[in-house]
Amino acid sequence: MTLAPEAPQAPPAPDRVRFQVSLHNFTGPFDLLLGLISRHQLDVTEVALSRVTDDFIAYTAALGDDADLEETTGFLVVAATLLDLKAARLLPQAEVEDEEDLALLEARDVLFARLLQYRAFQQVAALFRELEASARLRYPRAVTLEPRFAELLPPVQLGVDAAGFAELAAAVFRPKPPPTVGLDHLHASTVSVPEQVAILSGRLREQGVATFAELVADCEHGIEVVGRFLAVLEMYRARDVALDQPEAFAELRVRWAPGGDAGSAGLVDEVDEEDA
């Protein structure tokens, strides 16, 4: 991988042009971030992110009109996460781990996990390159028969009639079923978290408080229970409910308590993304 010859520790402005050129070496935000981490000789598993944040932001700023909307968005999402993390490190550490701290930790872990994953596939890709280079060194002889021998062959038989040939052609063009264990028999229903949120909001608004067991009593499939649990987490995050669980594995009580600004819907977004 080639990088701009100098690290942008110098003031970023004069380097803008060079950034723009370098950008095309990277095939996405993870690629860029990994590149920066390795340039600073940092281990991806260490808390390296605040040190590369400035570089990353600079690259992202230089994306300009060159990139399409989706590409820019990808970079911006990672840049925003990085800024968040860096800001958290600059501020005095609070004693209490409030929700925002947790969210930051979570964001960092997800980013690390994705980076690790991306790096693993990069290594596999390098291995593929080696395999490819060494694979086809011997080419088998496979040439047409000399006419004098070909003439000896009896007329070729297809062994099928026109209808059979069409059947065979259809089989060739039909997408092959993936080599997996079929899951169709397990469940057919898909569960949407927003839908579950709506159901639970309705009930809790009426009842005021309910145990989780009561809330899932009417679920037919395991996946609905999961969906409903995610919905509870989502409502907690949106500060629509309060949760009460005296100790681990104890009964979970969900109380309708619309309080904070019901804004963030990050969880829902993630779930939707997976469905897309």
Binding site: A142, T144, F149
Partner: protein, 189 residues
């Protein structure tokens, strides 16, 4: 990074290496290859390669090898030596060569329903290398070259003999496969 080809080309300063390299290339030559093409592939002057080819042909004959290297009007190719033709014939007739293999039939099906079509397109649909099978189909008279596409790839179509073998008068009589396969056109877009 240095070009691996440059490294080995230097190795061809030895005549023995040049002969061996020629032999390696000749082994995969299907339609006779002209001297200049071989010289180009080996990165050597034409006269030197011409001389090497003649030397190799003479060597095969002197040593009584099972192969012959002969030049026709179009170029050079390896052939089985005449003297051993009876064995070769027996081998050729011995195999199950009257019926097409499943792989060949499937490849033929792709050509039939997508013609005119390039080899790489057929390979993409089949998901395997089809070079050998396509050559066999061509050799058996079931498919034939039909010009080139915009990208310069050779196009293939089925022949009259193919229709005969299926008992059809024209390609229009090929049973449609769309009913068997609703989304056929989406598959390799």
């Amino acid at each position: 990074m240095t070009d691996p080809l440059e490294e080995v080309e230097e190795a061809l300063v030895s005549d023995a290496e040049l002969l061996a390299a020629l032999e390696a290339v000749l082994l995969v030559v299907d339609t006779p290859a002209p001297t200049d093409q071989l010289a180009d592939v080996l990165g050597q002057p034409i006269p030197r390669v011409q001389e090497a080819l003649e030397g190799l042909a003479a060597e095969y004959t002197e040593r009584g090898r099972g192969m012959e290297l002969r030049a026709t009007g179009e170029g050079w190719r390896l052939y089985s030596r005449d003297r051993f033709a009876p064995y070769v014939e027996r081998f050729v007739l011995d195999g199950q060569r009257t019926r097409l293999t499943r792989a060949a039939l499937e490849t033929l099906a792709v050509v039939a329903y997508r013609q005119p079509v390039t080899r790489s397109r057929v390979a993409a649909v089949r998901g395997v290398n089809v070079d050998g099978v396509m050559r066999t189909l061509a050799a058996r008279g079931l498919i034939i070259e039909a010009g080139t596409d915009v990208g310069g790839g050779t196009l293939y179509r089925t022949t009259e003999m193919f229709l005969e073998r299926l008992g059809l008068d024209s390609l229009d009589d090929l049973p449609p496969i769309a009913p068997l396969l609703p989304d056929v056109d989406d598959i390799d877009e």
